[in-house]
């Protein structure tokens, strides 16, 4: 679980998390407004956020436990930079409606998932330009798998970094966190890859980073 719960982190980290998140939300919204009215984006963004919220409730069994999907890579690939505010909204709802994560850690959790989403968007966009396309579907599928996996790995690293601020006594906890997430990286890579391949085939305009309507 990349969601850090309330009560774990220290005040400076929480405060920094909120500061960075508020700044990034302001920047991403401002950036999108610059390119045109955001009025149209809000209802659509919300509906997609709801879809991600629901998709992330899917549980997949790994051995004795089950994990739920993170999907931050996919959010980035589809929503572009607006993934950041979308993830913030999604996390508020998860905290309030399900007790996933927590209220005070909203800032840091948005960073943990939002930064990887932005990175995934960048990689997907760059990869799409760089790699000469043979078959669009399989290229997008591979890129999707790559970004999906990287996003989870990055999210785990960020979470690990946050925990590391607590002191080196937490080394083992961090190691456990990383080991626990290795299978999730693989699972997400497969799933995000196939979702992206599906979307490229069925509704390519949905993938913002292909250079469609939503940049």
């Amino acid at each position: 679980m990349v969601h850090i719960s309330d009560g774990v982190l220290s005040l400076p980290v929480l405060a920094a998390g909120w500061a960075i998140t508020i700044a990034l939300i302001a920047i991403t919204l401002w950036w999108s407004k610059r390119k045109g009215s955001i009025v149209e984006e809000i209802p659509k963004l919300s509906v997609m956020t709801a879809a991600f919220f629901v998709a992330s409730l899917i549980h997949i069994a790994i051995g004795p436990t089950s994990v739920h999907l993170i999907l931050s890579g996919l959010v980035g690939v589809i929503l572009g930079i607006l993934a950041y505010p979308a993830i913030f909204i999604g996390l508020i709802l998860q905290a309030f409606l399900f007790g996933h994560g927590g209220v005070t850690v909203l800032g840091v959790n948005t960073i943990d998932m939002g930064i990887p989403a932005l990175v995934a968007y960048g990689i997907f966009k760059a990869g799409n330009k760089l790699i000469p396309s043979e078959s669009l579907t399989s290229k997008a599928g591979l890129l999707g798998a790559l970004t999906g996996g990287i996003a989870v790995a990055l999210a785990v690293s960020l979470t690990a970094g946050m925990l590391y601020t607590l002191g080196k006594e937490y080394t083992w906890a961090i190691k456990a966190l990383i080991i626990y997430h290795i299978p999730i990286i693989v699972i997400e890579a497969i799933i995000v890859g196939s979702v992206v391949a599906f979307l490229v085939k069925v509704k390519p305009e949905l993938i913002g980073s292909l250079g469609g309507e939503k940049e």
Partner: protein, 255 residues
């Protein structure tokens, strides 16, 4: 497959917290939650936990309901607790084969656990005592940026539509023999089903936007609310905040 999020199932009960003005309630409890998660001392953390439980009892929300919501936090926090207890460097107080529990690990683990549980429990008296749409309206009145409030409102509304929609897709898959396993085939199939969910969501988003436009949507819908803040709301808010502050000053007086 997936559960329905319904934190406000008991919003129609009758309790002092249900009557608490939504804006004052949000501010007071958010303050309290921040205060509780930053308590540095285990004893005081217990005081915080008791207060959280007291608030829960005051709200009349059934305990079974609360417990069912706590399983995610419990999973995270308890595994954290176990790992810390065994790996935190310090004075060893018990041994199992090659593993040992340290006092410091136990202390830190307990502190984190108590703080986390207190914070989750406090969500219920805060959010569970009013309908979620009231929460959203209260946030709006508290000057949370309008674009975020709107996103929260629409996202919340469509979660229910999509839970149903995905549930039906899922049922259709199961009724043709699909089984969720951790295999490449199954994961790719889930990918397809999720892709379908996004396509449908996107198309619905388009129609929703059209429907909103055709009723004059220009970017900032207003809602009519009648919040009325009274003396007793101020008093209650001030006492909760006062308690939150005292959690951090009390340590000066403790031995």
């Amino acid at each position: 497959m997936i559960e329905y999020p319904e934190i406000d199932r008991y919003a129609s009960l009758d309790s002092p917290l249900h009557l608490f003005d939504p804006r004052a309630k949000l501010i007071a409890f958010l303050f309290l939650i921040f205060s509780v998660v930053l308590i540095p001392d285990l004893k005081i953390a217990f005081i915080g936990l008791f207060f959280a439980i007291f608030m829960l009892i005051l709200s009349r929300i059934p305990l079974t309901f609360v417990l069912s919501y706590m399983k995610w936090v419990a999973m995270f926090v308890l595994s954290f607790f176990i790992i810390l207890a065994f790996t935190f460097p310090g004075e060893e107080i018990a041994e199992f084969y090659f593993l040992s529990i340290t006092a410091e690990g136990l202390y830190t683990g307990s502190l984190i656990t108590i703080r986390a549980f207190s914070a989750v429990i406090l969500i219920f008296p805060m959010i569970g005592t009013m309908r979620f749409d009231t929460t959203i309206k209260a946030l709006d009145r508290l000057k949370v940026p309008n674009s975020l409030v709107q996103m929260l409102m629409f996202t919340y509304r469509y979660i229910f539509v999509f839970v149903d929609e995905f549930q039906r897709i899922w049922t259709a898959m199961e009724s043709r023999g699909f089984k969720l396993r951790t295999t490449l085939y199954a994961l790719r199939t889930i990918g397809n089903a999720m892709g379908m969910l996004f396509v449908r969501s996107y198309e619905r988003a388009e129609r929703v936007y059209q429907a909103m436009r055709s009723r004059g949507y220009t970017g900032n819908p207003k809602t009519l609310v009648e919040f009325e803040i009274r003396m007793k709301d101020y008093l209650l808010a001030v006492s909760i905040i006062g308690f939150a502050v005292s959690l951090h000053t009390i340590s000066f007086f403790l031995p």
